[in-house]
């Protein structure tokens, strides 16, 4: 399904872009950090429609309007801040000295990432990925605008059905729509009950 594809791609991109960003924000103090943090949160604060309209114009110019990549890009706008926000929290609770320890024990940078960093942030990473998935999954206005009717995601099927009072069909689609959110909720609820440490710093939620 298109929705799943789009959402998964968004998660992947968020991961690639967001991880370094989150790490930099949490672990390094650089000039203009406050400004970057503030800018990072803008897409969440500014209404989705406004963001979409603005992006749409640019995307038309680039020629990405009405295409899958275009929709992915627009979804990135609200999704990335959530991802970075969650991951920055995880990194804040993360000890960089763990990596230094691994290094002095003989691990090369790549092996450090694989054997130390990734396992340590994994629980938080999973939660961040799931939130990001949901953000993309539930995008409506933005997809309508930028997708131009060519890219059809689940909300775009669902909301017209509700509006047309086609209750049966709407109910059926709703279940599919809500399913990922329910599954994610169930998973995170179960994980929250475990030892706080295993969440890699998200335990305060």
């Amino acid at each position: 399904m298109v929705s799943t594809l789009v959402a998964l791609i968004v998660v992947a991109l968020c991961g690639i872009l967001g991880l370094p960003a989150a790490r930099a924000l949490a672990l390094h103090d650089f000039r203009g950090r406050r400004m970057v943090e503030w800018l990072m949160m803008l897409p969440i604060v500014v209404p989705g429609l406004v963001v979409a309209m603005g992006t749409h114009i640019v995307l038309i110019q680039i020629g990405l309007a009405d295409t899958l990549p275009g929709v992915v890009l627009v979804h990135l706008a609200p999704a990335l801040p959530y991802f970075v926000l969650v991951m920055a929290g995880v990194f804040a609770n993360y000890s960089v000295e763990l990596e230094e320890t691994a290094r002095s024990l003989g691990a090369s940078p790549w092996r450090i990432f694989l054997y130390v960093t990734l396992p340590a942030i994994f629980p938080g990473l999973l939660v961040a990925a799931m939130f990001t998935f949901l953000v993309s999954w539930t995008q409506y206005i933005t997809t309508v605008l930028v997708g131009g009717g060519r890219i059809i995601t689940l909300p775009m099927v669902l909301f017209p059905l509700i509006g047309a009072a086609n209750h049966a069909a709407a109910a059926a689609v709703s279940i599919v729509f809500v399913l990922p959110a329910l599954l994610i909720l169930a998973y995170t609820a179960r994980t929250m009950q475990q030892d706080v440490q295993s969440l890699g710093g998200l335990g305060k939620l």
């Binding site: 000295e97 230094e100 691994a102 002095s104 003989g106 090369s108 340590a120």
Partner: protein, 347 residues
């Protein structure tokens, strides 16, 4: 069994000079303490030896060969931090075996070495536990095992005992010392506690504000501190200015004989005697000065007597049943064998 040499080592940040012209030689199998107050540059130095920080200038040599170009992961200088930093997602055995795994040691061999090392730190059978199930003392022992099992060229300990309570600290000190000597590993450890340095190290390097003040056997810091700042760090603030001529010093309170104090030029000096060596006597004799008692505090093992000696407050560790009256005048005897002289202007 590696020697470590620091040559003209410097580290400068944009506004501060953290380490200044440091020269140090650590012999093979020796345990050296980098001692000093916070911010003196000792941790910065250690991180440069580990390869986690690049020096601004100078050289670091293992066995005579520069390791500046060798990245940290290949230097074989393993660091144990203040926080135990065990990998939370691995078991105790997997933690200890981590360095071996990085070196490509086979699974069976790893298991053998890990078990042997866990035995040594008295944690046999703990292999399957998780780090968060251990007490802090146990965690630190695992961290130690993890560092030692790879048989490093240099063992670097960054205030490894600061997070432990006093009883544990003593036990851990003994463990670290016995393991280091048994395995003959060259070790450098950082501490701000001079008692710890004296207890553990073969030689102590006292640093302040980035500079090395004295590098000597522990005893020398008590008997022969090089300058007043060194004496002060080791809890000796008893200073009396005077003018040295040969083996005697003319002070405002009389002539003091200082036959032990060789190596200091004639001229302006500071006379010092450690609080534990100053005696309170009844009659004036050679090397005696009079002092006004300011305060007497009971310290359990001794009475801390603070008295004004020629304008400076001296501390005397008197026997607990000797209680001078504050405000009275006493006679202090400065034993010839324990009078030490230091230069007046700090080098």
């Amino acid at each position: 069994m590696t020697t470590v040499g620091l040559c003209q080592l410097n580290k400068t940040y944009s506004r501060t000079e953290a380490v200044i012209n440091l020269n140090l030689e650590v012999a093979s199998g020796e345990m050296v303490a980098l001692l000093g107050p916070s911010g003196c540059g000792k941790t910065t130095t250690m991180r440069m030896v580990a390869g986690l920080l690049a020096p601004s200038s100078g050289d670091i040599r293992f066995d005579g060969r520069s390791v500046l170009k060798t990245p940290a992961e290949r230097r074989d200088a393993v660091m144990v931090f203040q926080k135990h930093l065990l990998f939370p997602h691995l078991s105790v055995a997997e933690n200890v075996g981590f360095g071996l795994k990085m070196r490509g040691v086979t699974h069976n061999e790893r298991r053998r070495l890990v078990e042997a090392m866990l035995d040594r730190v008295r944690l046999s059978g703990f292999g399957n536990r998780r780090p968060n199930e251990l007490s802090s003392g146990q965690q630190q022992r695992v961290a130690l095992a993890r560092a030692l099992v790879v048989d490093p060229k240099v063992l670097l300990l960054d205030e490894p005992l600061s997070n432990l309570d006093a009883n544990l600290r003593l036990e851990m000190r003994r463990l670290i010392r016995s393991l280091q000597q048994e395995l003959k590993i060259t070790a450098i450890f950082v501490t701000h506690d001079h008692e710890e340095a004296v207890m553990l190290a073969d030689r102590v390097a006292l640093m302040m504000e980035g500079k090395l003040l004295q590098f000597d056997e522990p005893r020398s810091f008590y008997d022969r501190p090089r300058i007043a700042a060194v004496a002060r760090f080791f809890r000796n603030e008893n200073l009396l200015p005077g003018e040295k001529r040969g083996a005697t010093v003319c002070t405002s309170l009389g002539t003091i004989f200082a036959p032990q104090a060789t190596g200091v030029a004639d001229g302006d000096v500071l006379v010092t005697v450690r609080p534990e060596q100053v005696g309170i006597v009844q009659t004036i004799g050679p090397n005696c000065v009079s002092a006004d008692v300011k305060a007497v505090t009971y310290m359990g093992t001794h009475n801390l007597v603070e008295a004004m000696v020629g304008g400076q407050i001296w501390s005397i560790a008197a026997p607990p049943d000797l209680v001078p009256i504050p405000g009275s005048r006493v006679i202090l005897r400065l034993p010839e064998s324990h009078v030490w002289l230091m230069p007046t202007n700090v080098a």
